[in-house]
Amino acid sequence: MSADFSRVSIVLAQALEAALNQAMHLDLEEGQALKALPTSVIALQIDPLKTPFYCLLNEQQISVQSHLNGSADASIQGGISDWLALGQDHPNVDVFEFSGDTDLAQRFLKALAAIEIDWEEHLASLTGDLIAFKIGHGVRSYLGLKRRQRDYIEQTIKEYLQFEIEAVPTKSQVQHFNQDVQELSQQLDALEARINQLN
């Protein structure tokens, strides 16, 4: 059983989020325009993709996700080529359709058009994650896998479990801790006894 979610859109959302936040924190005029926007949710509809990206604007911090509980405050709709053309020198923002709080949507799109997004950089930093995930997901038979891929899976599991182990105190860590506490209280008892002798 599975639900309707796409790993690719999640990765794209992450890249968009990284790009927007970077632009906002570079001290450029364009970034400042993003900072000035109120707390709100703006949906970006990229036709023909079925699901929009939701930009959550919060005090100088933008998060992007592909699901939203409830509806957005404003929505911007355009074809994939229109969105890609946004990065060009004189983008045509008239081809987009706005709904909801249109003033907010227009301000957001203008700011978006003005910033330069290095997609390659942001996507490159994420492909490692995606490849790792996809390999785990795409496995049909481990016997048929090439040696390298098998190593990859083993490495991925190993790293995950290591992470998991570090996050949970192990039995022995707990035992060590209990021992430490016991030692400490014995030392305190001894100290107390010595202080009492001084009196």
Partner: protein, 250 residues
Amino acid sequence: MSNNKSTIDFGFSEVPLDEKVKRVKGVFDSVAGNYDIMNDVMSMGVHRIWKRQTIDLSGVRPGHKVLDLAGGTGDLTKAFAKRVGKTGQVVLADINESMVRVGRDRLINEGISGNVDYSITNAEALAFPDNTFDLCTIAFGLRNVTNKDKALEELYRVLKPGGQLMILEFSKVTNPAFAKLYDFYSFNILPKMGKVIADDEASYQYLAESIRMHPDQETLKQMMLNAGFDKAEYINMTQGIVALHRGWKY
């Protein structure tokens, strides 16, 4: 952390800052340090994608109230705090005081504050009123809870009507061939590795076993329905090494 106070404000509770606490902090300082290094080193780490998917699917929005139960050092709390903004609130709750402390220090260091509360709470008896949260999450925590049915009932209770519970946890690998590799890895390689790295073969063996003992996808889904959830479903991730279960209260 300041040492000249006898108690330290800890969100909902005041805890004495005595020698024991310092000791605990010592133990968990090393845990927290490793945790961060792990995150950096693991540029291809899938656990971040599992968590990222959880966050994405949550549909969380500004103004929401979120409970990150068994939140540990606060990965999810951090992401949710950014999303719910000033008008929202995130509570990082964990049974382990030291985990909460380390999580709090880490988040404050990263500039996350103002909309995050910290609570030392057992999942089986949550210290929150009914109908409090829009979203509750428990990531890699349910496996450690003794009475899971009780925890699920509690999570249902504190959710607002319309609210959602998300459980991210190790589960049952679906592909038989992959399951074989995974088993071989967990029962043969992992404990040996544990011996080399931490001189602690038994704990690693125990970890592998505890993962296998956790209820499988369908069982957990049924447990959620039994606990009162009006709808429950799950998504397998990475062949079912982990599953994301979601439950709704209507």
